[in-house]
Symmetry: C2
Subunit: 215 residues, 2 copies
Amino acid sequence: MTVVVSYGSNRVRHLRRKGQQILEAARTVFLEAGFDTSSMDAIARQAGVSKATLYAHFENKEDLFEALIRFECQTIGANFYRPDPLAEAWADELEKLATNLRKLFSENDVPAVYRIIVPVASRFPRLAQIFFEEGPGAAIRDTMAYLETLCEAGHLQIPDLEIAAEQFIFLVSGDLELRGALSLPRRPAEKGRELTRSSIAMFIQYYSKPAPSAL
Amino acid sequence: MTVVVSYGSNRVRHLRRKGQQILEAARTVFLEAGFDTSSMDAIARQAGVSKATLYAHFENKEDLFEALIRFECQTIGANFYRPDPLAEAWADELEKLATNLRKLFSENDVPAVYRIIVPVASRFPRLAQIFFEEGPGAAIRDTMAYLETLCEAGHLQIPDLEIAAEQFIFLVSGDLELRGALSLPRRPAEKGRELTRSSIAMFIQYYSKPAPSAL
DNA sequence: GTCTATATTGTGATAGAC
DNA sequence: GTCTATCACAATATAGAC
């Protein structure tokens, strides 16, 4: 029933579209049920194609899963907030960074990707590595870079940028990641705002000290 | 081949032993492969019994999994360090608490339980709730209680105990939980010690202020 | 490349003898 | 309670026609 124009370029476009169609179906099914519980039958049904077509585009289930994870990592990375190193109100930039992180951990599909990558991490260590580097790792690196500019500008004094970036991220994240992973309800937004405010104040106060290693 | 004495009490003991034997086998298999990938065949083989015996002791796969999670939660809770409210060196108590948390997140089977509970959390919400309440939730409650004694003793001044406990726990935990969930290698212990030291100093400095809400 | 139909394997759970 | 043998079913992946 499908109309397929027979010359080359259109054929390629046609393939690309089917591939994206399958990937989108895989996204729906995998993010909902995870790798092991999702069946290739269900994905084919969701995509509106036959299983044979599915296997024509992706070598096997693992291959399709990897394609999805890579795609999601790109999306997540694109949603990071990059603080403006030239902005004068640097404390506000830190707050925007924190708010963006909390938003990522709660609204977007970051928790969903986390939920499906965790159970297969030991089976597909390469995928786990990719997720860590392009997700949390990238967030840490970005934060380190911005904190470094704040040090160079004389606003903060940080002996170990990596440790500081980690402290910032886990302070403002709080239990969001954990609750997301366990599909538990989040607490009232007011509590989250208060945690963010308090955490940023704590962070700035500590690293504003001339000699934080003095305790 | 098994010698079974026929009068009542011994029979019960025999059952109890078989039950524990099965639970231990389930522990080995489930913690290694997770709920979906583990088969009742494998568990029966590991336990050295037949599948029928297994189903005589546990209603179904889910029932056996729940028994394991409950058992693990008890073990985890028993390994918490409870700070001594009467100890004069309260900063040392905080450090012991932090060190114990990091030990739990890295050495024990906390990461393993976390890995297997995450993928089924939405299917078994009651189990996810139990894990949260008896794991992280209990840690937060214990920490809150100790921080409260420190406030009453005049060492600290904390406007919101729950937020503070959360900040403390996630500060000292850092990326341990994340790396454990993803089966990624931990970073050098020196980095962990430095993070702990720095985080405790940050925490104490902030909550030592007469009016932390001023900033 | 795409479909229908199928091969093959492994799963959770059970029947029936002892 | 415990075993052996088996059912009923769903899964991944493929064969063969078009």
